[in-house]
Symmetry: C2
Subunit: 354 residues, 2 copies
Amino acid sequence: MTRKSEDTSRSTIRDVAARAGVSASTVSRVLGGVYPVSATTRTRVLRAVREMDYVADARAKAIAGVGTPTLAFVLEDITGPSFALMAHGVEREATRLGHLCLVCSTEGDARHEVEFVEMMRAQRAAAVILVGGGADTVEYRDRTRRMADSLASAGSRLVLCGRPPLGPGAPVTVIEYDNEGGAYALVAHVLAQGHHRVLFLGGKPDHTTAQGRERGYLAAHRARGLEPDPELVLHGDFTRDSGHRLMRQVLERGLEFTAVVAATDMVAAGALTALHEAGLSVPDDVSLAGYDDIPFARDLHPALTTVHVPYEELGRLAVRTALGREPNTPDEHLLLGTHVVVRNSVAAVEEAAA
Amino acid sequence: MTRKSEDTSRSTIRDVAARAGVSASTVSRVLGGVYPVSATTRTRVLRAVREMDYVADARAKAIAGVGTPTLAFVLEDITGPSFALMAHGVEREATRLGHLCLVCSTEGDARHEVEFVEMMRAQRAAAVILVGGGADTVEYRDRTRRMADSLASAGSRLVLCGRPPLGPGAPVTVIEYDNEGGAYALVAHVLAQGHHRVLFLGGKPDHTTAQGRERGYLAAHRARGLEPDPELVLHGDFTRDSGHRLMRQVLERGLEFTAVVAATDMVAAGALTALHEAGLSVPDDVSLAGYDDIPFARDLHPALTTVHVPYEELGRLAVRTALGREPNTPDEHLLLGTHVVVRNSVAAVEEAAA
DNA sequence: GTGAAAGCGCTAACAT
DNA sequence: ATGTTAGCGCTTTCAC
């Protein structure tokens, strides 16, 4: 059994110094690394350190100017697959760069968000990464702008990841991906299979991510000279339950369509089981596509055609650029590409039936 | 536009004091809360604070004895649905209790794990929660015991969440759930549907979670006087790919079975698509069950029968008990129940066919 | 090579 | 009610 010091209170550098018969500065020096210290003193100190199982208080070091930098990550709900993917990217890159990683869930509450940002500022986080879409209201811009300024004035930096950008001049970094482009490509693909009435299961009308995807849906139609029936675009949120509910209602109402494009793989999953519950077969009776390419998409049955979003990369990039910038650099904007991944959930329409 | 202080370096309490024409202690007092301060001074100070957008350095406060406590959460990969669920529980409860929440991914590397724990000790984290199963080797016990002692001697506490417990006397809290019981109930349910040859897609043979589930599988058989064919229990890991690969191999080998129980919903998902790819129907041709009850289980087709594990509760409990205990309390052991949730993926065997 | 002393940003005990 | 001083645990001049 390893012997441990029995004293309940953690030992300080002075305790170690005392036990080694040297001064605190000396202990600091041998622990610090490459400062000239005599071999024998070094050994004595190291032994004391080992015997007392001493670890320097990181907060004290931080305050003295040599701490491990910290990076904060605030999102809505770690449980969402795409959030989790980003979180993973952030976390990996942060530890690769030797940063600690604080995480907070807002549960979708904007008040929590600003509270967290305030805390992170108090923690002197090197950067705080805000993740997940939302409404682009003036209230949002003001609030976020305020956070950005306040962080910047404290030598930190705000990163918006998949979020509405602020106006020019704000000290933020925004990393986005091409919502509209992905939706455009996806819907073009569906249309190319001969579908004419494709249902769109969208998100909240004021949510910018939802808007981008909806724009893509519309644009793809118009590029073919089609004007989609307004009845076909529905609004809900990005959850599985929303997809399920919406799909059910549509089925009850007897709306006509041969394909459905969901704003999210989660929505698609809910819609899929609603379809199944109604005895419909995908893609034989109706085609279905999603958005996000979460890992589970390929294990749905049929495997879901969707658009891939490089979420993990997004997270990695967020920390890399945030940490690379000078705090007060004005707005910077990265846009990552998306691409559709074709699996088995959308089929060509039977021309005979038409 | 809100005016902000232009000075790039964050302001200190003394700067605020200077601007308000008072002493630092006074600023500290008005910010601190309920200490008697004259109304006019208070206003002056608050104005200065606002004008400078001042926030007290949390690290300095911490070192002075009044910091926001921090809690660390180290897991293998935030991307796994069950990990994410636990993380969510931990995070929610932590912020509810006013704690900050540090998170680290080990990517399955034990060395990273001890490094992280060491860092957390340096951060003076109130508790560190280690999550996720593993092998119960003596190396594991030694290493973990060492971490527990070291944390305890620093006034912190180690919590093992869904992990092999240490021997008695170690200053840890372990929170587990009933792996064996859940598997037992699930397999009993499958057996009760008339299945005699049920395939088990297990995890790594030395992984304690995998072992518990396998024991349940065996025990359920024996309780019915059955001795399962050893050929029917396979080993892989807990990933979707493992389930997919294993299922494929089994199908190629032409093994006979009417039901498969996967050690994990992820494994089940992989197995399900392999089954589908082979043109088999679930549950008409073969029944399938999983374990974990991740949110996606009900959107698989057919909806997956599985055993529910209260992961989120697990996380919440982990922080609650960790924070409630005195640091040096010896081992404490909580065991949460599991229960099977019946959906549509296991059917009764056709007695006619037999 | 090593110690004493000052300083990091804050709070708290002690004065007044 | 407010200022002064000491102290939290550490690093870093500045002496010797």
